[in-house]
């Protein structure tokens, strides 16, 4: 990736290396939670928040604790603990402060821990060697890219519920065929936006 300007990292996370359609991260929630727009919105909001927070905290943890103590080999275990703790924290805060949002998110909130998009963002930050600002920007933009695709997918699936198709294609295969079309469109960002 060229020259690592913050804007090109932002566009990279948002479109070019879109987490769902290009990198295949977080597909379980992509096919599981996109049956209607409302739950897709709630899930995306929680993921954006956790992803941005996880990128920030794990960068600080890796740079200021693991590297000075020469314990880089513990990166995976410590990142997953950070993410699990963050999700718990978000859950407490949302339950106390915004009970209505907590009820509408339901089971999806604790499930973010095992969403590979969050851990993927943290690991990609580490392997690309991003500095603090770049990590935060990449985490946030990847979350926003996730949101865009989730909302598109949920909208299309909601409207195609009553389409008359063979019963063996209904459900998951149909979702994958829609994803094929969306993915073909996103592949073109490789050429549209040069970085």
């Amino acid at each position: 990736m060229a020259e690592d300007a913050l804007f090109s990292i932002f566009m990279d996370g948002l479109f070019i290396n879109n987490f769902l359609l290009i990198q295949f991260l977080g597909l379980c929630s992509f096919v599981g939670v996109t049956k209607d727009v409302k739950s897709a919105t709630g899930m995306s909001g929680a993921v954006v928040f956790v992803m941005a927070m996880a990128s920030t905290v794990s960068y600080l943890l890796y740079t200021y604790i693991l590297v000075p103590t020469k314990m880089e080999f513990l990166d995976l275990i410590s990142f997953i603990v950070v993410i699990a703790a963050l999700v718990q924290l978000v859950e407490f805060v949302v339950r106390k402060q915004i009970p209505s949002l907590y009820r509408s998110l339901g089971i999806y909130l604790p499930l973010i821990t095992t969403n590979c998009a969050v851990l993927g963002a943290v690991l990609l930050n580490e392997s690309s060697g991003y500095n603090f600002a770049q990590s935060v920007v990449f985490g946030t933009s990847a979350g926003l890219g996730y949101t865009i695709v989730m909302l598109m997918m949920a909208g299309i699936r909601e409207r195609s519920t009553f389409v008359n198709i063979p019963s063996s294609i209904r459900g998951l295969p149909q979702a994958f065929f829609i994803a094929t079309m969306l993915s073909l469109a996103f592949v073109n960002y490789f050429w549209v936006i040069p970085i």
């Binding site: 295949f24 597909l27 275990i77 590979c116 851990l119 690991l123 094929t180 993915s183």
Partner: protein, 204 residues
């Protein structure tokens, strides 16, 4: 409950991709070639068998309120081992699979089997279940990888040996792109659903 039928169950009824629909991310992301599919399945199999055995041997000691964090720590330990071994002994495969080796931690197949099977059964059966599920995973990955590699490049090359060479003049390169993964798994899933529906009709 005999060992062989438990093993077969992991390939057919509880197949991780088509039966349980778990672990979709690696299934789609690393299947650009048969070789990558085999590498990914081998790493997952090691973690799955080891974590199933350890979880099952500790199942009476683990308090049920904190079992999920404990499972995740156990799995993360084995994934770190796989990560280091692959980086040391097969760096080209490690580079091709990239971030998906550490991401085995959050592969829902492994934590799913720990929760649904290893937590309730003894060590031997948990090991058999681990082997069965990983064999099912390997077969699915090789099938998807084979279809994508054959249509996308016109040939299948595994560890330097050319298995099939169609020498197409215009291979469908879209199949190697992300879209190819979605259309392949969509079509395979539709076929599986069709077969299931026919079985139901015959009353089996």
């Amino acid at each position: 409950m005999d060992p062989l039928s438990e093993f077969i169950r992991g390939i057919t009824r509880d197949n991780p991709t088509f039966g349980l629909v778990l672990g979709l991310c690696p299934t789609l992301a690393v299947t650009t070639s048969v070789e990558n599919a085999i590498g990914m399945a081998a790493g997952t199999a090691f973690v799955l068998v080891c974590s199933n055995m350890l979880v099952s041997s500790l199942r009476k000691q683990i308090p049920s309120t904190v079992r999920l964090p404990i499972f995740i720590i156990i799995i993360a330990t084995f994934v770190s081992i796989v990560d280091m071994i692959m980086e040391a002994y097969s760096p080209s495969m490690y580079a091709a699979l990239g971030v998906f080796i550490p991401l085995i931690v959050v592969n829902c197949i492994i934590i799913g089997r720990a929760e649904a099977y290893a937590n309730k059964n003894n060590v031997f059966y948990s090991m058999i279940d681990g082997f069965g599920t990983s064999t099912g995973f390997l077969l699915v990955l090789m099938l998807i990888g084979g279809i994508r590699e054959l249509l996308g490049t016109g040939q299948i090359v595994v560890f330097g040996y050319s298995l099939i060479n169609l020498s197409l003049s215009y291979p469908i390169t879209t199949m190697i792109l992300p879209a190819g993964a979605f259309v392949t798994i969509g079509a395979l899933m539709a076929i599986v659903n069709y077969q299931k529906a026919k079985k139901l009709e015959r009353g089996e």
